[in-house]
């Protein structure tokens, strides 16, 4: 066991003063229970209790065809629904060695980045709210609404799209899709400085986040903390860079890295990622080629016997999907390596010794989505 992990070992004591945060606590953003042991206002340890929203998605997938699994993955990390869909689709497409049309690859990247933006909007809003900046919430929601309107126009739903299908997309995007996306990019370029004025430059916000919840690069690697949270500690873990999938090989973008490892660094990573997403959107949206929106697929998809693994970068980190197939139309076993599960369990290491108010700042900066933890 690495030193980083052994430091995390918790010794319970009968004398401990325990307080339960959740499962219905607004700052946990879902049904997560944190068992917090306090010494005055200082946190002695945090034990996360998970499973309140467990739906057995992995088990259910064993009796669903590959096309039917898609709609279940929506419901893991609902803010990265599109990336979750894509993970399954890529796994199946790679296993069957299907070449998806260029149009599909372009649209998938646009949707990935729009989803990432919408997810970061929500995180920004909620993070501000957790720290008492309620105004931020309305501004984030205002801009997120624009993206959701684009989604609604093309897929008919705002959050859980189920728009990917092995081989391509369910149907073609709306004719106005490109136009509206570019409108949004121009609009949001103007609005991003407001985010800086409202929260990034705020002194109270600095005091609440700077130096709070310091995570070293070693800790991030030991716990498998990926996504913006890991990159805030200087851990280069962007799957779009380290194992590019789809069109990401051909796109020019930067991986955002900060070395401080505190809550503020994690915040800055996401803020810069929003900007990077806008850059990607500008490169890709106008160049979507004409063509089919799906490759030719059999109506029943069967994977050849074997094991398959595919990972993608969701808004919160690395989502891995591991499929074992016995050649039938249902997978024999599916395992999701969800980013939030790993990101959650670093909480004790970060919050230990700090104040209970900082626990909220830390869990907010990790950007946890609870249904993804429980699956």
């Amino acid at each position: 066991m690495s030193e980083e992990v052994t430091k995390n070992i918790i010794v319970r004591d009968d004398e401990d003063y325990i307080i339960n945060m959740g499962p219905q606590h607004p700052s946990t953003h879902g049904v997560l229970r944190l068992e917090v042991c306090l010494n005055g206002e200082t946190v002695k340890y945090v034990i996360p209790h998970i499973g309140y929203i467990h739906r057995a998605i992995e088990k259910m997938s064993e009796s669903d065809t590959y096309k039917q699994i898609i709609h279940l993955t929506d419901r893991m990390d609902y803010l990265s629904a599109h990336m979750n869909n894509e993970a399954v689709c890529l796994a199946v497409e790679n296993a069957l060695e299907i070449e998806v049309p260029k149009r599909v690859q372009y649209i998938r990247v646009v949707l990935d980045e729009l989803t990432r933006l919408a997810s970061h909007h929500l995180w920004w809003s909620a993070f501000g709210m957790d720290l008492g900046a309620l105004t931020a919430f309305f501004y984030g929601m205002r801009d997120r609404e624009k993206i959701l309107a684009i989604f609604e126009e093309s897929f008919g739903s705002r959050l859980l799209h189920s728009f990917n299908t092995p081989g391509g997309l369910m149907h073609d995007v709306h004719p106005d899709f490109q136009k509206h996306t570019m409108e949004f990019v121009r609009y949001f370029r103007k609005k991003l400085p407001e985010y800086k004025q409202l929260l990034t430059d705020n002194v109270i916000f600095h005091n609440r986040t700077q130096g709070i919840g310091k995570m070293s690069r070693e800790t991030a690697i030991a716990f498998g903390v990926t996504g913006p949270s890991g990159r805030g500690s200087g851990f280069a873990c962007d799957v779009r860079k380290v194992a590019p999938y789809g069109l990401y090989k051909e796109i020019d973008f930067n991986e955002i890295l900060y070395d401080e490892g505190d809550s503020f660094a994690r915040y800055l990573v996401r803020m810069d990622e929003m900007e990077e997403s806008l850059n990607i959107l500008e490169q890709v949206t106008d160049n979507i080629p004409e063509g089919d929106y799906t490759a030719k697929m059999k109506s029943i998809v069967k994977l050849p016997e074997g094991e398959y693994f595919q990972r993608v970068e969701t808004a919160r980190g690395e989502l891995g999907i591991y499929i074992v197939s016995d050649g039938k139309k249902f997978p024999y076993r599916i395992k999701f390596r969800s980013p939030n599960f790993s990101n959650l369990f670093v909480l004790n290491t970060l919050a230990k010794g700090g104040l209970i108010a900082d626990l909220v700042a830390i869990s907010g900066s990790l950007d946890l989505v609870i249904p993804d933890i429980d699956r």
Partner: protein
Amino acid sequence: MNSVIKYFTDIYKGVRSLWAGMRVTGKYFVRPGEIVTEQYPENRATLKMEDRFKGEVIMPHDKNNQHQCTGCGVCELNCPNGSIEIITKKVPNEDGKMVRVIDKHIYHLSMCTFCELCIKTCPFNALAWGQDFEHAVFDRSKLDKVLNKPGSSLKKKEAKS
């Protein structure tokens, strides 16, 4: 001395950052630009959902009360949640032969996850999305719907275009 200077520079910085934030909110207070809040339910009369909006699964009927569902059961097979139940019956056609037609196409809205597989896979294009979204009811059984209207029949030309 140093702590006194720090005290005052902190106050200065605090007020300045507060001012920067207040400027943004103040700007929208006097010049809202656009109102983004939907005035629902007051705007019910004018509210129009997107054409592709997934409100519920419906079976379009034409003016002769005819639909395109043959009762083949493909949608029932493809639904991951068992939200669709197909009940067929045998009736004699013009030649007096017994043929299988749809009796009830039961759709459990409460169990539907809007995955669109039924609509995509229906070989006869018999299903579509409805734009109605006000589904709140007091009794769950009200969400079990029969999609083919009473007295409806199969449209003659049936193959997918």
